[in-house]
Symmetry: C2
Subunit: 337 residues, 2 copies
C-alpha cells in the first residue's frame, strides 16, 4: 500500500506553502494564474486527492448530503441516481444511507450524521414526525414522498390523493364500475391514496371497496388471492407498483387474463412498471455466499495480514420457475408482425 499524497507533498513539489496549494485546490480567490497552473499540474502529476476527513474537520463542512433510502426499491434507486447528478451540479456529494430489514431508518440516519452529512434527504420515511422535527434541528432535513401534517419540515412529495383519484377516473372512463382498492400499511401515504380512491368513487356514485394490503410484491400476491376468493371486481388498484406486480403475477398463475378479465393499476412508475413477465427460470447467484466470501477476503486482508490473492468460486444452481416448460410444436416465421 503506497502512502497517500498529501497537500504538503504538492507544496514541496512546486516550492510553495501548503496554504497556497490549498487555496488553489479548492478554487479560492487569491493565487495568480501562473501559480494555479503550476500547482494543478503538480497535483495532477503526483495524483493528489484531497482528504475528505481532514478537509471536513478543518472546514467544519463536509459538502455531503445524506440520502436515506430503501435500496431494494427500484423507485428509490432511480431517485437516488437522479439526486446524484443533481447534487453534483450544486457542488455537493451524496452519501447513501441504505435502509433494510436489518438496518432501520434511525440507524441509517445516525451513520450519515456520523459521517458529518450537512443535510439529510429521507425517501419514503416511516419515522415519527416528532423525531423528524428533532432531527431537523440538528441538520436540514427534506422528506421525500410523504406528507407531514402540521410539522415544520421540508417536504417534497406527489399529490397522492389526486393521483389515485385520476387513476380511478381513468378506470371509470373505460367503463369500470366494480373497482377495488388495496391499500398499503398504515402510513400517511397509504391514507392519502385511499382517500383519493374514496373521493373519486364517491364523486361517481360508486360503492368503494378497500382491502388491506402492503407495499411489497409478496403483499400483492396475498392480495390477489384475497380478491380472487370473493366476487371479482373488474379493476383493482394497488398501493404501489411492487404490490401490483406481485398481484398480476398471481393472477396470471391463476389463469386470469390482465387486462382481459381484470384491469390493474399501480403507483410509482418504477422501472418495474415498464416491463412485465411471468416468473423466470434462472441461475441463482448465491447472494449470501458471495457476500460472505467477499467480506472474508476483506477481513483477511485488513486484519489477518494476508497478502497473497485468492479466488473463491461458488457452484451455481438453476432455479426452475414457470418461464420454462415443454416446448411447443415448431412454428414458421410470421412476417406480418
Amino acid at each position: 500500500m503506497t502512502r497517500r499524497i498529501r497537500l504538503e507533498d504538492v507544496a514541496a513539489e512546486v516550492g510553495l506553502s501548503r496554504a497556497s496549494v490549498s487555496m488553489v485546490m479548492r478554487g479560492a480567490p487569491g493565487p495568480s494564474a501562473d501559480t494555479v497552473e503550476r500547482v494543478l499540474a503538480a497535483a495532477d502529476r503526483l495524483g493528489y486527492r484531497p482528504d475528505r476527513a481532514a478537509s471536513a474537520l478543518a472546514s467544519r463542512r463536509s459538502r455531503m448530503i445524506g440520502v436515506v433510502l430503501e435500496v431494494r426499491s427500484t423507485f428509490h434507486a432511480e431517485l437516488a441516481e437522479e439526486m446524484l447528478a443533481a447534487a453534483d451540479r450544486i457542488g455537493y456529494d451524496l452519501l447513501l444511507g441504505p435502509r433494510t430489514p436489518h438496518r432501520d431508518e434511525a440507524r441509517a440516519v445516525e451513520s450519515l450524521l456520523d459521517s458529518r452529512c450537512e443535510a439529510l434527504v429521507l425517501i419514503g420515511t416511516e419515522a415519527p414526525v416528532d423525531r423528524l422535527v428533532a432531527l431537523d434541528r440538528q441538520v436540514p432535513v427534506v422528506t421525500v414522498g410523504r406528507r407531514m401534517p402540521g410539522a415544520e419540515l421540508d417536504v417534497v412529495r406527489l399529490d397522492d390523493e389526486s393521483g389515485v383519484s385520476e387513476m380511478v377516473r381513468h378506470l371509470i372512463g373505460l367503463g369500470h364500475r366494480r373497482i377495488t382498492y388495496v391499500r398499503g400499511h398504515d402510513v400517511v401515504i397509504a391514507a392519502d391514496r385511499e382517500a383519493g380512491y374514496r373521493r373519486a368513487m364517491a364523486e361517481a356514485g360508486l360503492e368503494p371497496l378497500v382491502l388491506a394490503g402492503g407495499k411489497d410484491a409478496d403483499d400483492g400476491v396475498r392480495s390477489a388471492r384475497a380478491v380472487l376468493s370473493g366476487t371479482w371486481p373488474t379493476a383493482v388498484l394497488l398501493f404501489n407498483d411492487q404490490a401490483a406486480v406481485g398481484f398480476i403475477a398471481e393472477l396470471q398463475r391463476a389463469g386470469v387474463d390482465v387486462p382481459g378479465q381484470v384491469s390493474v393499476g399501480g403507483f410509482d412508475d418504477s422501472p418495474l412498471a415498464r416491463m412485465g413477465a411471468v416468473a423466470l427460470t434462472t441461475v441463482r447467484q448465491d447472494v449470501p455466499g458471495l457476500t460472505r466470501h467477499t467480506l472474508d477476503l476483506i477481513g483477511e486482508r485488513l486484519d489477518g495480514g494476508r497478502s497473497t490473492r485468492r479466488e473463491v468460486v461458488i457452484p451455481p444452481e438453476v432455479v426452475v420457475r414457470s418461464s420454462t416448460g415443454a416446448p411447443a410444436a415448431p412454428r414458421e416465421p410470421s412476417p406480418g408482425r
Copy 2:
C-alpha cells in the same frame, strides 16, 4: 442547529480526561468497570456520537469498506443489502459508491477513496484489468462477479460457464432442441456464459445459435423482436434477468405465450425473476421534478440562508399501459380455487 457533542463534553461531564473517555468509547482495554459505566451513561445522556472524520484522521483507519455498484440493478442492490449486514458483523461500515450512466466507475472509486475507504468491493466491474491491479496497490480490492484472467486480484464470482451449461441441459431435458442464446455485451462475463452455452450444445450434438444482445430490459425487447422475425426457437436463454424480463414482456405483447410457445431463461435470480407481470398502468412519480426540488430546498438551506419551511407539491400524471383496458363481463366467485 445545535452544536455537536464532543468527546470533551463527555469528559467534562464525568470529570475525566478525553483520553479515558476515548478508550471507553471504542472499547479499548484499560478503564475500570466503574469508569466504563459512568462514561457510557454520560455519553448516552448527552447523546454523544464519535466524529468519524476526526476518528479517521487520528487513527488512520476509517473502518469503512467501499462498494461500487449499479444501484439500479436489483441484483446489485440485493448484494449490497447482504454486504451491509455482513460488514456490520465484522465491525465495518459500508459506503455505497453508485455507478450510473452519468457517473462512471472510476469516479465512484475516487469518491470512495477520498472518503478513506480501507477496501473496495467492485460489483460487476467493467474496468480494465490493469487499472484494477493498480488500484489494488493502493487499497485491497475485491471484484465480485467477474473473472479476472491472469490478474493478481481477489475475485468472488459464480461459475458463469457451468451455470449456463446447466440451464441448457435443463432445457434439453425438457425436450428442447432449437435453443437460442442472446449474449451480453463484450465483457468477460458475457464470453463465459456464451462459452457455457456452446459447450452444452456441442455436448448434446445440437447446433448453437447466438444473437447479440445486452444487459438491460430494453435490450431484451430488441432481442425479442429479432427472434420473432426469424424461425422461432422453442427456447431462448438471455444474458441476465433484466434482459429476459424485457424479452418476455415483448413476447407477451406479440401474443406469444411463455412458456407455451417459447421457453425463456435468465441469469442472476434477481428479485425481478421472482415476479412477473404485464406492463402496468400507473401514476408517474416525476423523478426529475422531485429531485430538483429536493436539492433546491437543500441548497437554499445550506447556502441561501433560508430558515422557514416550504412544501413543494408536484402534479401527478397517470401513465396508461397495457394492464388496464375495457372491463370483462361480471363473473361469479370461483369457490374451488
